[in-house]
């Protein structure tokens, strides 16, 4: 079996940085930020579909990471743990920033428009389409297809029925296909 040396090396370095950060080394934490901020920001952007909110949430993730990194026990890969922390923070960010009107009449936020997507810089084709999805379909699609969560887990995370998670996933796929074929 071939060994992916580059990834193995990257993981070793990351493990060292995590260990040093757990010991309170802020220089190591800055290096950890350098290595991981793009994946954290990408996930925040996919979930929140708003550049400014994604930047805020990304900062919040790293602030909480600094305080909670001692809770990482090494039983899973650090990046897996980081993605799960990021997903939870982004979802709670979304809840906190809903205004009272959206909370009481359940208005669903539509996805990002073309102008907003253009401001996000160089995105790949799939990311451009994901950001256009309406909120619930986007959250489920990102958590299931991109992050690999099961519908049962998503239902708990988003406080929705398992069936709703499945139907939002199909809705998302249908919209993505429609846009892909028409663009």
């Amino acid at each position: 079996m071939l060994v992916d040396a580059q990834n193995a090396f990257a993981d070793d370095t990351l493990d060292e940085l995590v260990l040093r950060t757990q010991q309170g080394d802020q220089v190591a934490f800055a290096a950890l930020y350098e290595q991981c901020h793009r994946r954290v920001y990408a996930l925040c952007l996919r979930l929140l579909a708003d550049q400014a909110h994604a930047e805020d949430a990304c900062q919040e993730v790293f602030v909480q990471l600094w305080h909670k990194i001692s809770q990482f026990n090494g039983q899973s890969r650090f990046t897996t743990w980081l993605h799960s922390v990021t997903s939870n923070i982004a979802i709670s960010y979304l809840r906190k920033h809903k205004n009272w009107l959206q909370k009481v009449v359940s208005i669903e936020n539509s996805g990002m428009d073309e102008a907003g997507i253009a401001l996000c810089g160089d995105l790949n084709g799939l990311d451009k389409l994901i950001l256009r999805l309406p909120e619930r379909a986007r959250l489920v699609f990102v958590l299931h297809a991109v992050e690999g969560y099961r519908h049962e887990e998503i239902a708990t995370m988003l406080s929705m029925a398992v069936g709703s998670s499945k139907s939002q996933y199909h809705r998302a796929k249908k919209l993505l296909q429609e846009w892909y074929e028409n663009d």
Binding site: C58, V63, H67, I107, G121, L123, L126, L176
Partner: protein
């Protein structure tokens, strides 16, 4: 384009999800904000406490009123059937609140003479937004505007009937 093209596109896109070169990047550097937050967390909480202490009585009263309204809205709407039109739900709730306030302040002198003119202007804005909503009842931006105009009306009625000692 065919379904298999789309499946291929999807598979390729998902394969590249964690490829650093394919990941979007923030438009500004986020590290200075993170660094500041992790180094100054205790100070910022002290600052916010002192800010809260300095705020005036009217600000506190407004905050209480706003949170009460939001809380009552949440209870009110949670009891309504979900399929009901949001404009109808919101308007019914607002009318009830407005009438309660007008009855409550009925015998109390107002602090300005032209508050009813101001209220009429807000009512005209309310009508204009409602007309626009007839064509697009689910438009989130219009619903937000309607909610703001309703809130402004309640704030105005409250403000002009506050006793003078509360007008700090």
């Amino acid at each position: 384009m065919t379904k298999s093209n789309f499946d291929e596109f999807l598979a390729k896109g998902l394969e590249q999800k964690n490829n650093p070169e394919q990941m979007p990047e923030p438009q500004k550097s986020l590290w200075p904000g993170v660094e500041k937050a992790i180094n100054s967390a205790p100070h910022s909480s002290i600052d916010s406490e002192s800010r809260a202490t300095r705020s005036g009585a009217w600000r506190n009263l407004s905050a209480i009123a706003a949170s009460t309204l939001i809380g009552m809205c949440a209870v009110y709407f949670s009891m309504k059937p979900p399929e009901q039109n949001p404009v109808v739900q919101m308007s019914a709730y607002f009318e009830q609140q407005k009438q309660t306030l007008l009855v409550q302040y009925g015998s109390q002198p107002a602090l300005t003479n032209d508050w009813q003119v101001q209220l009429q202007e807000l009512e005209q804005a309310e009508q204009a937004i409602k007309t626009a909503l007839e064509n697009d009842p689910e438009n989130a931006a219009l619903l937000q505007m309607l909610a703001q105009v309703y809130q402004q009306q309640l704030d105005l009625i409250n403000r002009v009937h506050q006793p003078r000692w509360q007008q700090i």
